[in-house]
């Protein structure tokens, strides 16, 4: 028996000998190092995505003026600083692509999936450490390949991040030939990286939970990351398959989506959104999980209705597979399908409502500490609710006739992805930063960044509802071409200015993040006084995480348990007998 035990924990013993810098930091198989590598990569791409957004907003706010510093851009993009329409279309495409595939998804699934899962379930590392390293080092070339698309002849892909065929399938229609192929290849490679990662996460959560860590003692962040890994595992291959078909349409002259050769343009939309909707739940579920952890910690109180939260996550993930048609109500799909997808879409509002009210229930009767992660978490709930409610307008098919492909949809996207996922990411990075680097981020500048981001976020994206209500279409280069959009240009200018201020206020986060490495206050093992297993090991945890395999005695949210002096109780410390109801 011992040989097997030793073999199983080889990660723990095998790595004690000193590794070269390359093996330790670059090609490391330690889930914590890989988590931090994903963090740095995704923050860079988040910055790139934000930069592209600034160019877009400039063009929409001041359509006929050259962009300041625009002379740096080559002639094919912005002659004399004036952005060209085809470059604007590739900006819109690449802003969506970078933010969704290379910023939010890696930040949520790559960073916190890697860093938190082994630590929070009491495992020494992932089930397959080498495979874990490969999933990062497959994602980096995908990112660099996507970046290289800007410098090829014909410009980068310009058919939207959804790259609907035939616009994306026939290079003659957009003048983009190499760019679209690069986009497809990069997405396929990134898909491979995500599938490898998901396989790793699922096996780790199922197999390597510490003794006593039953399924209903898992923290909600791990539940969310586990369910998200299943969504990634089953959704990304669909996109890879579809991307390959579109790539063949481009290169081998196949006719999957080309009506002249018998193909179906709607086939691409079905395939893309069959992947697309689970994808948007991949982008929000981990954020929901981590926000639940942070709000419970901030309120010093167990999560309200832990089981309903778990079933809500599962319900959202399951329903996510049968609603994809609501992206295609007006696409020429059979209208009866529209009614069917409307019903399944409306059903998704129920678990989201459950989660929202449970978060509020957690804060109810709590003893709230407003540390920076808590501020971000509460903002997540506040903003996600607006995103969820604006989703109701689109779920009703007749109203969707009017607001589909208008800025109402863009407002919904950004309230859910920026107001939701990104606020959760800011909170989570600030929350687990001390565990990753051993020092705290400066709380004062954290609050300044939160306030500015909160204010400018709302100034930027709330008026987009108004643009949508007045029929302002999406992805248009110069709204002044339409009479009925002329009066909205004032709002567009206001949004542009707010967007620039929003982008500027992110510098505070970057500086705080980097300076924290040197000047941050030293964080002990448990700066937030949290119950998670990761807070029972030194910061940053050594290789192999736990000196001895921890045993878990109770759920993760035993805050303010009666009979316990402190108002928190780490999971590996048994409940004093007779204390607390939830002792199973």
């Amino acid at each position: 028996m011992t040989s097997v035990a030793a073999a199983a924990d080889h990660a723990h013993h095998g790595e004690t000998h000193e590794l070269s810098f390359v093996r330790k930091y670059v090609f490391s198989t330690d889930h914590k190092v890989i988590g931090i590598q994903f963090l740095l990569m995704s923050l860079v791409f988040l910055f790139v995505g934000g930069l592209l957004a600034m160019l877009i907003r400039w063009q929409l706010g001041f359509p006929n003026e050259p962009i300041p510093g625009g002379a740096a851009l080559p002639e094919t993009m912005a002659p004399g600083g004036i952005l060209l329409p085809e470059f604007y279309n590739s900006l819109v495409t690449m802003h969506g692509t970078f933010m969704i595939f290379f910023a939010i998804m890696p930040l949520l699934v790559g960073v916190f999936g890697n860093y938190l899962i082994p630590l929070k379930i009491g495992a020494p590392d992932m089930a397959f450490p080498r495979l874990n390293m490969w999933s990062f080092w497959v994602a980096v070339p995908a990112g660099i390949l996507m970046l290289s698309g800007f410098f090829v002849e014909g410009g980068h892909a310009a058919a939207g991040w959804t790259s609907y065929a035939p616009l994306s399938a026939v290079s003659e229609y957009t003048g983009v030939s190499a760019g679209q192929k690069i986009w497809l290849l990069s997405i396929a490679i990134l898909g491979l990286s995500s599938i490898l990662g998901a396989t790793n996460y699922i096996t780790t959560v199922v197999q390597l939970r510490a003794p006593g860590m039953t399924w209903f003692r898992l923290p909600l962040s791990i539940w969310a990351l586990f369910i998200t890994a299943i969504l990634v595992l089953l959704a990304i291959p669909i996109l890879s398959g579809a991307a390959i078909m579109l790539f063949f349409d481009q290169t081998l002259g196949t006719h999957f989506f080309d009506p002249a050769g018998g193909g179906q343009p709607l086939l691409w939309q079905h395939l893309f959104w069959y992947f697309g909707h689970p994808e948007v739940y991949i982008l929000i579920l981990p954020a929901m999980g981590m926000v639940s952890d942070i709000i419970a910690n901030g309120s010093r109180k167990p999560v309200f209705g832990y089981h309903s939260m778990v079933f809500a996550i599962i319900a959202i993930a399951f329903l996510g597979w049968i609603v994809w048609g609501h992206h295609m109500f007006q696409s020429g799909m059979n209208p009866r399908l529209g009614t069917g997808f409307m019903i399944s879409t409306l059903l998704i509002a129920v678990p989201s409502a459950i989660k929202t009210f449970n978060w509020m229930g957690t804060m109810w009767l709590g003893s709230l500490r407003f540390h920076v992660p808590m501020l971000h978490a509460i903002s997540f709930v506040a903003m996600f609710v607006i995103g969820g409610l604006s989703g109701m307008f689109m779920a009703s098919t007749p109203v969707d006739i009017y607001i589909h492909d208008t800025y109402f949809i863009v407002a919904h996207i950004h309230y859910v992805l920026f107001g939701g996922s990104l606020f959760a990411i800011f909170g989570a990075v600030t929350y687990w930063y001390p565990k990753m680097f051993g020092r705290l981020m400066n709380p004062f500048w954290g609050k300044v960044h939160w306030l500015l981001t909160f204010v400018f976020f709302n100034c930027t994206f709330f008026p987009m509802h108004t643009l949508g209500v007045y029929g302002h279409m999406r992805r248009i280069y110069d709204p002044t071409q339409y009479e009925f959009l002329q009066p909205l240009m004032g709002i567009n200018r206001f949004i542009t200015i707010s967007a620039f201020l929003l982008f500027a206020s992110q510098i505070i986060f970057v500086v705080n993040f980097v300076m924290g490495w040197f000047r941050g206050a030293r964080a002990g093992e448990n700066p937030w006084e949290d119950n998670g297993l990761e807070w029972t090991v030194p910061s940053p945890p050594p290789h192999g995480n736990f000196a001895t395999v921890p045993t878990v005695h109770h759920g993760p949210y035993e805050y303010s348990a009666p009979g316990v002096v402190e108002d928190y109780l780490p999971q590996n410390r048994p409940l004093p007998d007779g204390a607390g109801r939830d002792a199973r």
Partner: protein
Amino acid sequence: MRRTWMAMGLVLTIACGGGEGAGGESAGGGETPDAGAQASVAPLGPGTISGVVMFERTPPANPAIDMSEEPSCAARYSGQATDPVVMVSGGRLANVFVRVTGGLPAGPYPAPARKPTIDQAGCLYHPRVVGVVAGQSLEIVNSDSLLHNIKAVPTANRGFNVSQPRAGMMREHTFTEPEVMVPVECSVHGWMKAYVGVVAHPYFATSAEDGTFTIGGLPPGTYQLEAWHESLGTKTGEVTIGADGAGTVAFTYGTM
């Protein structure tokens, strides 16, 4: 531990952020278009082919253009704007692209530095038919204060689909492979058509308003010619340049 993260973060930022500026063509000033491309190439000989393109019967009516939804272009035309497909005046046919197809010494011909220009004015291309030597760059200028996009879908050359949203914008493009008549069109205005003849050598010309054309810089000898028109088809002909360095040829369309 911390310094390494900082170093790695820096490296990643430089790798991804850098390398922004990419080479793009320089925005050369628009030159006045002159007739023959031969002028700026060392002539092979003193001879000149001068010819004329006749048109027999009465020409068919050119299709009308519905410019009602493009007021700034419609204003330039007094009556009903028409698409100048068959331009005939005084029995002479314009916009016929004539090039030498035989009798020339082989050998690579350098692409002249001069850049012919296609101007987009009044939602039409001027000139409608133009010739360039393979490798010679062509200037496309937008004189209308509205969006034109230039889409070329050649077979031998690489296509392009670029836009010029504002007046005064100039774009250069170079065709590398000889291809007689690369169709150029504007997707915003479906009726706008232009044709670019990419030829390996500089011995070609387009018939002017009065149907006449001249191809100079040729030594005495016999040459085969080909005349091309966008809707009336192609015709071949032969011309001999005598000792006096002059040769005349005539093509006739509209005979059927």
